[in-house]
């Protein structure tokens, strides 16, 4: 129960429901779930380049020749990347930060996926960076930080989407139409 409760998105009641289902109502499903989770944790890990889920060192996006490597879209989490891909509106590459700056909760730059971001900017192939972070206070602060500390020192065009996105929800919960217009309406920082 405690272990389930610590998962994101599960409160006390839903954790209780899931635990009861797995232990009492349908123990067979429980074994199947454990097997698949074990397989997944063994087979999947973060992509060494972008932080996306990957079966090998590189994720399928980073390994593909079809993507435009001059455009880099910065997102907070893997679910944001999935939402962008589902909408099918972006042909460039991604970089997943795995969070945003939030000093009160103890999240500083050292906890974000920034070292590999700087590494991949070294060869100068990236011409435009699109910041697709939420338009809440932490998202905004993170954009300012990246712009000043990482992109500002290089010859890169930096744009930001997020205008018109539901505030707080971020990219993950936006529909295709909203995401497309947010991307088309991106503005220089």
């Amino acid at each position: 129960m405690q272990a389930l409760k610590s998962l994101p998105g599960l409160g006390y009641r839903s954790a209780e429901k899931v635990a009861l289902h797995l232990i009492v109502e349908n123990p067979k499903a429980s074994t199947g779930l454990v097997d698949r989770l074990t397989q997944a944790t063994e087979a999947l890990g973060p992509c060494h380049t972008c932080g996306n889920l990957a079966e090998n060192q590189l994720c399928s996006l980073c390994a593909s020749d079809e993507r435009d490597s001059s455009q880099l879209c910065i997102v907070e989490g893997v679910t944001d990347l999935f939402a962008m891909e589902r909408a099918g509106i972006f042909r460039g590459l991604y970089h997943v930060l795995h969070g945003k700056l939030a000093p009160v909760r103890g999240v500083g730059p050292e906890k974000l996926n920034l070292i590999s971001l700087e590494n991949r900017l070294e060869d100068g192939k990236v011409k435009e960076v699109i910041l697709a972070l939420g338009n809440d206070m932490e998202g905004e602060a993170t954009c300012h930080y990246l712009n000043q500390e990482i992109f500002g020192k290089r010859e890169i065009q930096v744009t930001r989407i997020g205008f018109g996105l539901p505030s707080g929800g971020g990219v993950t919960y936006a529909d295709e139409v909203t995401l497309r217009s947010a991307l088309d309406g991106r503005k220089s920082m």
């Binding site: 700056l101 206070m137 602060a141 300012h144 930080y145 500390e149």
Partner: protein, 366 residues
């Protein structure tokens, strides 16, 4: 706006109560500590989600109980029925519904059911530290401008983040990242204060003049901690102050330090007004709040008077009545009626141990 009825459960010493009101003047009569002020406080909570006594939500929950429930029914100025339901518990978290729809943000409740409360605590607005005056100003402005409330909430959240970074001696770029939202909120806050303060001042000057039969004059004067008229200027203020902010581990300058003075004939009434004049000044400030809310919201606020009407001398009391619209609904409390002649003009309830019993007109005696 008129309050037609209120249901309370577990609010302070009131276990369960359901009252209906049929008039514009309601009086709660009883000895101290019986619960008459608690009822006014509950009405105020339905309007602002805050206690006019400055009490925390937990402290308003009846001892041994876990949840407060408030339900109020109003008649708005166009004759429409409105209702609000508020619940809060020991574990924190508030549930608010307006007209049956859940309300997620404070801004969606503030200003819907405006009220103005006079209480003996009001002297703090003249005598005490700036923080009481700032709280008053922020609540009045937030009730009339959701843009103000949003900026204020953003400002305090950004400042909290910045202060954490200052305390742990974080590098400049990280602190700067949060100064952008701090600066843009500061800009909005001060701009709205600057725009709305003249209207508040005018209302205050008129009400104080009315209260003293034009014999004395008083003004509100806005005293910003520092002035800036653009986000960029705010950014450079926070930049300039950062070194010294680091030493104390907090943000020292900004709109969170703004204040205003209540001037009596041009001089600060904190030092130059008599106690009687100070009482008049806070009363005038409340009347100004009433007119400002009414003007900005287009809704007649409720007037809550906690144990103060009896304290006014007869001429101030009658001037006070004249300044308020005759059809403003008032709820007053006292250990006795404000004057002997008044018992007939009030719809009255006798309050004892958290119970409220209507007093029939014929039964009131001296």
């Amino acid at each position: 706006m008129r309050l037609l009825g209120i249901n309370l459960e577990n609010f302070r010493n009131i276990g369960s109560l359901s009252l209906e009101f049929g008039t514009d003047r309601i009086f709660f009569l009883g000895a101290n500590g019986q619960g008459k002020s608690n009822l006014l406080e509950a009405i105020g909570v339905c309007s602002t989600l805050r206690s006019f006594r400055g009490a925390s939500t937990e402290s308003m929950i009846k001892e041994g109980e876990s949840e407060v429930r408030l339900f109020v029914r109003f008649l708005d100025d166009d004759g429409g029925d409105r209702e609000a339901m508020i619940r809060f518990g020991k574990k924190g978290g508030k549930t608010v519904e307006v007209d049956g729809e859940p309300v997620k943000r404070l801004g969606d409740l503030l200003g819907q059911f405006p009220s103005v409360c006079l209480s003996s605590r009001d002297f703090r607005l003249v005598r005490e530290s700036p923080s009481d005056r700032r709280k008053w100003m922020d609540l009045v402005l937030s009730s009339t401008s959701s843009k103000y409330l949003t900026a204020l909430q953003g400002y305090y959240r950004s400042m909290k983040e910045r202060n954490v970074l200052l305390k742990k001696k974080a590098a400049d770029p990280e602190i700067q990242a949060f100064e952008h939202s701090l600066a843009s909120s500061a800009q909005v806050i001060q701009q709205i204060r600057g725009e709305l303060f003249p209207a508040l001042d005018l209302a205050f000057e008129q009400s104080y003049a009315g209260l003293t039969n034009d014999k004395e004059s008083a003004q509100l004067s806005y005293n910003p901690d520092c002035l800036a008229d653009s986000t960029d200027k705010w950014l450079s203020i926070y930049e300039q102050e950062r070194m010294r902010d680091r030493q104390v581990g907090s943000t020292r300058r900004g709109p969170h330090r703004d204040d205003f003075s209540l001037l009596l004939d041009g001089r600060d009434s904190r030092h130059y007004a008599s106690e009687g004049q100070q009482k008049g000044i806070v009363l005038a400030l409340r009347v100004a709040e009433f007119s400002f809310l009414k003007y900005k919201l287009g809704t007649m606020p409720l007037l809550l008077a906690d144990d103060v009407l009896g304290e006014l001398d007869p001429s101030r009391r009658s001037n006070f009545r004249k300044m308020l619209p005759p059809n403003a609904q008032s709820f007053a409390t006292g250990t006795s009626f404000p004057s002997d002649k008044e018992e007939e003009i009030w719809e009255s309830f006798r309050v004892q141990s958290g119970g409220f019993v209507p007093i029939p007109l014929s039964a009131t005696d001296g």
